[in-house]
Assembly symmetry: C2
Homo-oligomer: 520 residues x 2
């Protein structure tokens, strides 16, 4: 697989400042580990909607924007911007002449590079690419030893370390879990510092308050240099739309700060179908498209050309209990359809993930997750947040499920690579050599290809029953717990310039000292 | 969902003989249960290979048949047939002038009806349809109470009952497990009797010896009537090819008996990639196509127009241990590619299933299964054997996994139904009624659609953590065990004409008495 590169060590690369002996020592002692480049699809997407259906949904979305409109709440500046752009503003309600929002979206790039501090970890988001990032947002963690409990900063750092060590995970993510033992107004500093120092993969910025977005930009400038951040995208951050059709001021603050700084945002309707959107797939797609068009258009009012992603977080609902449900066919159809709508807008697309509603990393969790991962790949998703570690409807980040899912992400890489139709791939020599009744294990073609012929798991058990039984008859969760232990044991931090490390630590300390802890 | 029909009771229908009071009593007391019609896809297939790749594989397959050929072992009559058809026969090796095999395949139907004794359970195999049948062949069973043990006739009957009760399972299957407590030379009689009396869904015939195929036809004639069986397909049976490129005499016996009787066979290369076929996807597809073309052509030499299915049983291999591996990306690519090749031949296609290599119905089992089920749907599979219950590489039929998988089959139904683009599906009224910041749960559109809006699980747990925890924190396997118990407890046999029942029992008894038990 040509995407897989053995990566001896990470280094701060072109952005190194000083580069002292500590960095060199770290390089010498670093464990070698593999990482995979982001997926570049060589297979088609599944186009579930035909041209007529797509045209209906697009026309309906324009009708929604013209007749119903959206609310920009507590945000007079946004209302002014919309008025100026030609929208009809009454109170907080903004209505759009047909075509206006879509026209404004045209300046958004179809693809952009998000830089990592290690340039080999840079990702290009858009086109045929798929970038995988871990779970985002859970207040709880679960592991086989401690069960379910509130997440702490130690957990957060552990999940960042697992991400750095995971071959098929391209992105360090954002709030991999909520470090609930740190004050709400300060935890973003610890989260950013962890991503920046424990990983050399790209990361996400804070979105929970305007000043925290500013901190994210400032710390990125320390890491990458001021000029570099001005001219390049180094963060992709998550801006949820308060569906239906509502843009709240905190999320708009984040979008405004990041778009102005040329940093990327995912504009993502947050849909529990039947609650925040109609119970039907076509109705939900209409609303998603309307909401994303407004969000993307707004980003372009802030700064033309600012990188944005067409997001769709979709789950269905259990009509008996009201619980969100995952890995369901309706969610699959919305994920597939939204991908088509995103491609027609020429925008990168974010959706899917390791979604499930199970309380344990068991069969339910895996069915629902695999349903979603497969559909995500075939939907043409370009950025998959929550690609590993999600449990219990997103309330829990699971250690064991993280490594289970991360292993399955390798399946997506290989499937997406498509079929090798080279002469070697055609294997006519093997067929001639072996012939009827023969065996391919020993033939020359097998000997020269077996190392790379098949995707290899780092986790799943292929042992014969007897061996497995003698070893204790362990289930996948138990095996995964061992792997978590091994990975965290072997983790070594990627080298970082000590001057940068110190400057980041100083920034965090200074900001923390500047105001009292707040826990809400 | 228009495929789902509430089915009050089964009856022997037009083929009833006599129709005594027992049958009427059985009808009156039968439990009502739902069944779903086979899937009629309203979504596209995933076409992973382009025209050029398909043409290369097809040309290579012709080269394989012309240059290498296949062996028909211990089968002089077959060699005569091939000689007469224009093939080059030397010893047991048969080589084919280019185009000969493909030309002979053209008389095979692209679609056929397999009749069930309850006509409402008839299935049409081919076209855009997908018929789901349970696991086939495991010598062991596993359940949460007794662990892993050799399967018995009681287990066999239990699995047939589960199939009859399972809404999304359309077909009763064949050797749902091996009843190892019955003599090898007699167990086919008990298996057929169980399918015929405990289920009213379509079933498979025996293939393990020529006389057992004859018994399958004879018993079917008792069940359906002689004329009906002569004129209609009432069995679909599994004919494996001994890959690479070998047609063994027992399997050819089965094909000959069934094709002559106008009964359907699946012509199925049995591939563990890297062992029975090249390690590459394109090489394996070439071999699969060559083998299937010969098998299908041979069926048409027996009887033009005999119904056959293009089969592909594919797994990859763990190159460290030699273990077959399931739910892998290479198997997915082969499954997708073989579907394209089958459609180009105008033949129904069999592949995929609830494949996995796990020893327990845990997360590994579910990831691997879900990968395969999803790809199976998108590959255009028309007949999916092993769609539920498969565990441990097919060595084990799992009670719990049967109901877990059977529940997931509902996901496939709904996904395949496509997106409702009717005015109701577009839901513009709902969007207008609710507006920005509102909630859809109470709106008129939701109220009138919520019952059918979302696929409903019969198994998975959507409860809040606290409730789930109070109830014992059960994993999916534990929950599934409860469902198995409930289903077997509620099972009632579909009504059958007592005269037919008696005639079948007599046939079984007579044949069993006619020869001593043999256990090999």
């Amino acid at each position: 697989m040509n995407q897989v590169v053995e990566q001896p060590t990470a280094s701060a690369g072109r952005r190194a400042r000083g580069g002292g002996g500590a960095a060199r020592r770290a390089e010498r002692t670093a464990v070698k580990f593999e990482f995979a480049r982001y997926i570049e699809r060589n297979i088609p997407n599944l186009e579930i909607l035909n041209e007529e259906a797509l045209a209906i949904i697009e026309a309906n979305a324009e009708t929604v924007l013209e007749e119903i409109g959206v609310n920009f709440v507590d945000n007079p500046a946004a209302l002014d911007r919309w008025r100026e752009a030609g929208a009809d503003v009454q109170g907080e309600r903004v209505r759009f002449p047909k075509g206006l929002a879509r026209e404004l979206c045209k300046t958004a790039p179809s693809s952009f590079v998000q830089h990592a501090r290690n340039p080999e970890r840079n990702v290009t988001i858009g086109g045929k690419n798929l970038v995988l990032a871990p779970v985002y947002g859970p207040p709880f963690v679960r592991d086989i030893h401690g069960g379910r409990r509130y997440a702490t900063l130690t957990d957060f750092r552990n999940f960042v370390k697992l991400g750095q060590m995971s071959k098929w995970v391209h992105h360090s993510g954002g709030t991999v879990c909520e470090p609930t033992d740190v004050a709400v107004n300060k935890r973003h500093l610890d989260m950013l510092f962890s991503h920046m120092t424990l990983s050399d993969k790209p990361y996400m910025g804070s979105v929970t308050e305007r000043s925290r977005c500013v901190d994210s930009v400032e710390m990125s400038k320390i890491l990458f240099g001021d000029d570099f951040v001005d001219q390049n995208t180094v963060m992709t951050s998550l801006v949820n739309i308060n569906s239906p059709l509502t843009f709240d001021p905190i999320m708009m603050d984040a979008l405004e700060v990041y778009a102005a700084a040329n940093q990327a945002c995912i504009i993502s309707p947050f849909i529990v179908g039947g609650a925040m959107a109609p119970v039907s797939v076509a109705g939900t797609l209409t609303q998603v498209l309307a909401e994303v068009m407004v969000g993307v258009a707004y980003s372009q009012l802030i700064r033309k050309g600012a990188p944005v992603i067409f997001g769709a977080f979709v789950t269905s609902i259990d009509m008996n209990s009201g619980a969100p449900t995952f890995g369901t066919p309706e969610a699959a159809q919305i994920t597939l359809g939204a991908g088509q709508l995103a491609r027609r807008m020429g925008l990168p697309y974010r959706s899917a993930g390791s979604f499930n509603g199970s309380k344990l990393p068991d069969a339910q969790a895996a069915y629902e997750t695999a349903n979603t991962l497969n559909i995500g790949l075939l939907s043409g998703v370009n950025f998959m947040l929550h690609a590993c570690g999600w449990l219990e409807g997103g309330l829990v980040a699971s250690y064991e499920k993280y490594v289970m899912d991360a292993d399955q992400l390798g399946v997506l890489h290989r499937l997406a690579a498509g079929v090798d139709m080279s002469e070697n791939g055609q294997a006519m020599d093997a067929l001639r050599e072996v012939g009827p009744g023969g065996h391919f294990l020993g033939c020359a073609h097998t000997q020269s290809n077996f190392k790379e012929a098949f995707w290899k798991t780092n986790l799943l058990d292929y042992k014969p029953f007897e061996t497995w039984d003698e070893e204790g008859g362990r289930d996948t969760m138990t095996i995964a717990a061992k792997r978590v232990e091994k990975m965290l044991g072997e983790y070594q931090a990627p080298a970082i310039d000590p001057g940068i490390n110190e400057a980041l630590a100083e920034y965090v300390a200074k900001k923390k000292a500047a105001e009292p802890d707040a826990f809400m």
